[in-house]
């Protein structure tokens, strides 16, 4: 059983930055879509693992905030 982990940081203005681990490929973005609200995503930083087909640890960071 693999563990999926998302770390969300909500800053003082309500903007969110998120970091995912344990997702395969771009499923991390889908998982974040399910959790984060309609706030505009301002940047996505993909790590080396993002393009792996199946990975045990994927470390991707998404920053979301007011547009």
């Amino acid at each position: 059983m693999a563990e999926q982990k998302i770390t969300l940081i909500i800053d003082e203005d309500g903007a969110i930055s998120a970091k995912t681990q344990g997702f395969a490929g771009n499923t991390c973005l889908e998982a974040l879509d399910e959790i984060m609200d309609e706030q505009a995503v301002t940047s996505i930083r993909k790590t080396d693992e993002f393009n792996h087909d199946v990975v045990r640890t994927v470390d991707n960071k998404v920053t979301q905030g007011r547009s």
């Binding site: 059983m1 693999a2 563990e3 999926q4 982990k5 998302i6 770390t7 969300l8 940081i9 909500i10 800053d11 003082e12 203005d13 309500g14 969110i16 998982a31 399910e34 959790i35 984060m36 609200d37 706030q39």
Partner: protein, 153 residues
């Protein structure tokens, strides 16, 4: 005979004007759009009349009776020209305080909005995470909220 005097500073704010008058120990009564003072002259109580954009001071040009009446109630009568000069300074000071209060109220409103926005984001994120089967751990770090969401698949 009555006269209308215009000052350099327009008295546009009722509360500020009342505050300025109070600082000069002038009691007031608001009557409709007019501010009645406890200063007396030949015509009775002197007042500020709202003309649609500012308060204009109305008083009688014969101030002798005012002196007599005010002296009768053990209060020194300040001549109108001197009174308006003092009032103008007091009004400016009160207006600055008024602006400071508005600024403070605006700051508080923005802060309340910010707190509400952060709370809404937090509550929403937790609710959605739980709906997606995540366990949620919450921590506060340097004024920021950290949510660690984990699930096994």
């Amino acid at each position: 005979m009555s006269v209308v005097v215009k000052t350099l500073t327009p008295f546009t704010e009722c509360n500020v004007l009342i505050e300025a008058l109070a600082s000069l120990n002038v009691s007031t009564t608001v009557n409709g759009n007019n501010i009645i003072t406890d200063r007396h002259d030949y015509q009775g109580q002197q007042c500020f009349v709202w003309n649609g954009s500012a308060y204009l001071f109305q008083y009688d040009s014969d101030e002798l009776r005012g002196r007599v009446i005010n002296n009768a109630i053990h209060r020194q009568y300040t001549p109108t020209r001197q009174f308006l000069s003092q009032l103008e300074l007091a009004y400016k000071a009160a207006y600055q305080q008024h602006l400071t209060r508005l600024e403070e109220a605006e700051k508080q409103r923005l802060e309340q909005e910010r707190l509400a926005r952060v709370e809404a984001v937090r509550v929403n994120a937790i609710a959605k995470a739980k709906a997606q089967g995540y366990r949620v751990k919450e921590q506060k770090k340097n004024g920021k909220i950290q949510l660690v969401l984990t699930r096994t698949v």
